[in-house]
Symmetry: C2
């Protein structure tokens, strides 16, 4: 390394230091809401990166998993469980139904509502995307032990009501 290169390198380091100084996060580092938002944005991006070939959003996966766990549930109840307005749910389910992953079947007891069910293809879809979902989850928890991951989920559950 020539003296000039060293000087240039020194200059670059100082610029880095200055950049670091200019990235002081100040009071943000005392705000729980800030860390939550950062973690959620990261999670959303990781989800999309890992699940790209599945062409599904986190919300859509939520609908599929709710239909799997609650066969016959209606749209309003499913929306309440996930915190999604029922008007928002219509297009989401339209899309899942167009891919034949869920079916709107007639309710036996209430002709206003649809009984949602995962189709065979929906089951196959969940099975096929499982390894990618696992890799996404593993990336989120890459710096956490199993116990820490469980602890984090418990702490988060205490922020959002049930």
């Amino acid at each position: 390394m020539t003296e000039k290169a060293v000087a240039r390198s020194r200059g670059a380091e100082e610029a880095e230091e200055r950049a670091d100084a200019e990235r002081n996060r100040g009071r943000l580092l005392g705000l729980l809401g800030y860390f939550l938002r950062r973690a959620d944005v990261y999670t959303f991006q990781s989800f999309n990166a890992h699940m790209a070939e599945d062409r599904i959003s986190p919300g859509q996966l939520g609908v599929l998993l709710m239909a799997e766990a609650n066969p016959g549930i209606n749209q309003t109840r499913l929306g309440k469980a996930l915190g999604i307005d029922r008007s928002t749910l219509v297009a989401m389910i339209d899309l899942l139904e167009s891919r034949a992953l869920v079916a709107r079947t007639p309710s036996a007891t209430d002709r206003r509502s649809h009984a949602l069910k995962l189709t065979r293809q929906g089951e196959a879809f969940l099975k096929a995307m499982q390894p990618r979902l696992a890799r996404h989850e593993a990336e989120l928890a890459r710096n956490l032990s199993a116990a820490e991951r469980r602890l984090l989920m418990d702490l988060l559950a205490r922020i959002a009501p049930s």
Copy 2:
């Protein structure tokens, strides 16, 4: 309570149980991403409820706090620190500037960039909204001890890279 009232109450309980059964969250309860998203949605709603009179979004507050901690920072660097694209930042800063909370001042060293600074009114704004921000943060942490809150922030920081 009459027998009829008891019967009605029993019926209501059973309906509740049925509703609960139909709200089985299934595999969602094993997904860290699910808890993160729920907590973040709750946080966003709490923020808006508590800060309504301040007419500010979480992202805008982030910009103000970064300008406070890094007087003279430019837009691109601020955006990178918060994970916001610089094109997105333009309208956010336009809005904050129209309320005279931040100022775009000429950079001494680079005429392409703006040196962002919190104005006096921006400082006053941060001071005035402080109690409401504190109440919002207190609501988030309402079920957490101080140690648990700190722990949660540490765990979240390990998900999103600094």
